[in-house]
Symmetry: C2
Subunit: 120 residues, 2 copies
DNA sequence: CACGCTGTACGATTGGAGTCGTACAAGGTT
DNA sequence: AACCTTGTACGACTCCAATCGTACAGCGTG
């Protein structure tokens, strides 16, 4: 039913970092977090190009300082859009596809179909 | 096909106020405008309780100063969420259901199903 | 024409979010 | 242990958006 690839979570995976429960997801919070082209691009790339279990912050290859990326990933996690786990050095993330699809069906489709604005 | 009631526009209706064309609607702009509980409530009420052709600003019965409401309606219009026409004294608005459904299918369903946060 | 009504325009204030530098913590590697 | 790598924490700065008061414009009615 879900149009996006959901990868299995290893049994020995670390606990996710603090995040809102599915029932606590708020539409206005999710939308308020997806109004930024940078974050929209992050979520979109996670949806379209996911191959392994999940990806570290640097996998995106964004040309921004690390402290900026930390900020955006934290914002996405606290709104309930992504889940983060600590794997040794790296903090890997993935989109909470099932949760978002359950609460806001169709929303991720819009994000995946989003076209970034002209860089010019 | 559209799940929302679309009322016909009278032939003698005034021209709409300046607004983005359908093709120019931007997801990040629309989401960025719907991240506010007040505006989310406005659009939701327009979707659920629409009976006449369209409604004036005061129809909502919101307990806010007029200058605040003017601001929010303008923001919604400039993002392409609502269309506004000047009818003599009143400026009446309606949600651009067809346009939004064409560009971002399913988005209005999420807004209509939205539950306002606890006022407590 | 004078008044009332709807809504705009403008400006001031406020709070919050994005951006990023620097310093630091924690795990891995050799 | 020394070092590298990944990412956090904190703080400062800037900028934008929300809020709203006041003054005004436009239309309709008596």
């Amino acid at each position: 039913m879900t149009a996006f690839k959901v990868l299995p979570v290893p049994a020995d995976a670390p606990e996710p970092l603090p995040e809102p429960a599915v029932g606590d997801l708020r539409l206005e919070a999710v939308l308020g977090v997806l109004n930024d082209p940078l974050r929209l691009g992050i979520v979109r790339k996670f949806l379209l190009e996911r191959e392994e279990f999940d990806h570290s912050c640097g996998w995106l290859g964004l040309d921004r300082p690390k402290s900026s990326l930390t900020h955006h990933f934290k914002v996405l996690r606290e709104a309930g859009v992504i889940r983060q786990r600590q794997y040794g050095l790296e903090r890997r993330s993935h989109v909470r596809i099932d949760d978002l699809e359950a609460r806001f069906p169709g929303l991720l489709r819009l994000v995946a179909d989003w076209t970034p604005p002209e860089p010019a």
